[in-house]
Symmetry: C2
Subunit: 513 residues, 2 copies
């Protein structure tokens, strides 16, 4: 089966004699995947998705279907995977069930049309639920690695996600050994083998963002490895634009809030507490703004590491960042590779069940900062469903951090679509984070600190601080009329008008009407 490969440096990457015998082509490898299989692949955000198996699998699905047979798989991943991967498999209508996250238009469209089942769960729950058997048997795992050690262990690539679990539970394993991944990445990973199902669970002994409790490699049963594919392919890049004025205004409010918390004695002055920030330009702007805050030795305990983190590490603002994935832009990838000797000492990549683990997030006192689609006047947050029905991406890790964080914040521009959509509405038509969990909401207009406030007080603060001025009269009018109802209740609403903003948008193209 062994094939000669033109990939540079690949001989150094497959150092185990047994597994070297399994080298084959992607086209051959994907023959191990059968219609109806549950296939679990590597990848979390843009980092670490398999590069060549998926195009080959899409070809195989197309061919089988041309022969008159159906061919769909259930696809499990870490979170989102590369756009190309999601798109190829969606276009050939190859996915019956998708779990746990996606962010790609073709897949999204099929999900919203009812053509693809999508199960949108907290990222910290994925490994546990697969072990529990909620997604049936995992037939095949496809995992990208940076190399194979002499004793047959696997060196992870740019994300870990659920790879440890996929390798443990799958019947058959296809490895993509990618020699493009810098060899210096070896040692940056901390793969924890101490998780278990109850009643056999033990405390996870992490008390600082830079604690290491695992090993740098994945274990794998060589008997399960049916194919090894050699590649030399760049990671997909995460899109990133320069922070605009809105993102910078949001970042400014967040940084002021940190100062306020420090003065109140709730956070250490220099180091704050470990930061978590979701993916996107707003998060990137907040992190970028830390450079100007006089901080040093900050830490991050997050699920992704974006470009802004590299600059913070380089100038000493951030001492250590824990994550499960590198999600860098083209420029970020260049910078990371060029200075990997610096970065590797300040970054730890972990399995997502650890990067997002409720136990660790609560213990460390993580400052959770996530984006949202919209919040209502009482602090309920919709992160996932446009107009309450159409999935955007998924809840991802936002609930893992929000529910267990020390301070839980949601950041968003006050409007979308040139002002036609308000991010503050009377009632959100889908709740991903409840009023019990949301503590701070920030838009470019201000920061609403909801801690310790009853619902009616929250409503006034959210409208006054966060809503776009154009929408404040509409929101105040709703609130006042709801409060004036006989028997208005703890959380006043007019049920017949609760979604009036959304209905107006559906009818007129603007929530303004």
């Amino acid at each position: 089966m062994s094939m000669t490969s033109g990939a540079p440096g690949i001989a150094d990457r497959i150092r185990n004699a047994t597994l070297a015998q399994r080298v084959t082509s992607a086209a051959e490898a994907v023959k191990y995947i059968e219609p109806g299989d549950t296939v679990a692949i590597s990848g979390f955000a843009s980092g670490g998705t398999p590069k060549v198996s998926i195009p080959a699998l899409a070809d195989r699905i197309r061919e089988v279907r041309a022969g008159g047979s159906d061919f769909t798989i259930n696809l499990l991943t870490g979170a989102s995977v590369s756009t190309e991967t999601e798109q190829l498999l969606s276009e050939v209508e190859g996915i019956a069930l998708r779990m746990p996250y996606q962010s790609e238009p073709t897949a999204r469209s099929r999900i919203n049309n009812g053509q693809m089942d999508y199960v949108d769960i907290h990222l910290s729950h994925v490994a546990q639920q697969v072990w529990q058997g909620y997604y049936g048997h995992v037939d095949v795992a496809i995992v990208e690695v940076a190399g194979i050690t002499e004793n047959g262990e696997l060196i992870p690539s740019a994300s870990i996600g659920n790879n440890k679990t996929w390798l443990d539970v799958a019947d058959k394993i296809i490895l993509e050994v990618n020699s493009w991944v810098p060899a210096e990445l070896e040692g940056i990973h901390d793969v924890y083998y101490g998780t278990a199902l109850p009643p056999n669970r033990k405390p996870i002994q992490i008390t600082r963002a830079d604690d290491r409790i695992g090993q740098p490699t994945y274990r794998v049963d060589p008997a399960k490895v049916v194919a090894v594919i050699e590649t030399h392919a760049r990671d997909a890049a995460s899109p990133l634009t320069e922070p605009d004025a809105v993102s910078q205004a949001i970042a400014g409010h967040v940084l002021d809030f940190f100062d306020y918390e420090v003065r109140a004695g709730r956070m250490p002055a220099d180091t704050l507490l470990p930061l978590q920030a979701g993916i996107g330009n707003v998060a990137n702007a907040v992190l970028g703004g830390l450079d100007r805050g006089g901080y040093q030795n900050l830490t991050c305990y997050s699920e992704v590491l974006q470009d802004s983190m590299l600059a913070l590490i380089k100038d000493g603002t951030v001492a250590h960042a824990s994550s499960t994935s590198l999600a860098l832009s083209e420029a970020g990838i260049e910078e990371f590779v060029a200075n990997i000797d610096v970065y590797r000492n300040h970054i730890t990549l972990r399995p997502q069940e650890i990067s997002n683990h409720p136990e660790v997030v609560r213990r460390l006192g993580v400052i959770a900062m996530n984006g949202m689609l919209e919040a209502d006047i009482y602090g309920n947050v919709n992160s996932t469903h446009v107009m309450g029905t159409k999935i955007m991406n998924g809840i991802g890790g936002s609930g893992d951090f929000t529910r267990n964080g020390y301070v839980s914040m949601f950041l968003s521009p006050s409007t979308a679509r040139n002002g036609a959509i308000s991010a503050i509405v009377p009632m959100v038509p889908h709740v991903d984070h409840s009023e019990h969990d949301t503590q701070v909401i920030v838009t470019e207009f201000g920061l609403a600190d909801l801690r310790g406030l009853s619902p009616r007080r929250r409503a006034r603060v959210i409208i006054d601080k966060c809503a776009h001025p154009d929408y404040r009269p509409l929101l105040n009018d709703y609130l006042e009329r709801a409060e004036a109802l006989p028997d208005a209740g703890q959380t006043p609403h007019i049920l017949g008008e609760a979604f009036s903003f959304h209905q107006r948008f559906q009818e007129t193209g603007s929530m303004r009407g």
Copy 2:
């Protein structure tokens, strides 16, 4: 200041000479409470509420107000407290802000009328948020104890709740030493002093429901104790009725589910995993049904311990129950006191930040079973707001256990008010537990296993298994028309009709119309 008391056995209960000097009357003690104070009192469910300070405080508030001055306090507790307590302080309009839970009609009415601020938060968050200062300074703590040891430590009574925190953070402390509490209760408590604010948190080393990590007493700075009151007063009893046919049918489905999980290899056959059950008749019926399931050495990791648990302990079905409170009926109190030498070896009472701690709940793999007001067809659950606006009780610990449990279940009769209200609706007008967290819904008609299902599949299972047959056609009609909309989305809804059940109820007195 020392007074002679008629309370039997009281001399044995106050064994510390310094604190014995502080014995006074309730009327004198509450003079330490000033208008505007934040007052934190003991009590979680029916167990351990102060018995005589609150009536005296209500009198003081009435007197001060008769003199022309206003007098309100902010009232912090463990969870609900005795009905009398809540009622007395609400009737004199003595509470400005209430946190974190209540279940009493007078207080509820004032909250829903906008006359009292109520902050409804997860019970595991209370201690942390008070330490963080979200509720300002705690001026006075009133804590019932069973006794004071020679070295000045305090023996807890029938609940712990947040008492450890109240004693630590309050400026002034009033102790009620209640000689009615059986002396044999000493040693049943496990008060953990290892919690801290980040960055100083350590793992909580509990790996089994019966692990003890603390000490049997509260510590207290004697200089802060301004008054000690002697009482000999029974705990309030929790109301309890015999399980009806509906509760028994729900219990039957739950027990069948446990069998199914055991056969699937997801739970140990004899011992299952630690059980948590909310307060109420349904939970009591489920626990009572375990007696007939062939189980032995079960454990419970819960926040309350109800009557049904006593029988399970007595016959060996349950080996150990961890809780923060005893919430027993009159008959349960009699049984507990009469056989306390048996029960004390099988029960551990903990602070609620530990009984409900996300870290421990996740590690142990707790089976979470909580009641609800209603669920929608996609699995979002409303636990708190009647018709979306009027608070019933509060979220309590339901989120602590649901969010981190191994299997998260909600149990409810399929209808309320003689069928006029359906517990399954198109969309819940308030979400306390999102679709991402709800795994199983049970009514007397059946059990909906939502694990691994996309929203549209969940909807069919919930309607078919759980909805009352009278409501199934209405629900199916809504779902089918929502799915038929162009661009129906991942989670189809007709926004203009999403609350049609609730609006029909408001207009006609029945969701049937």
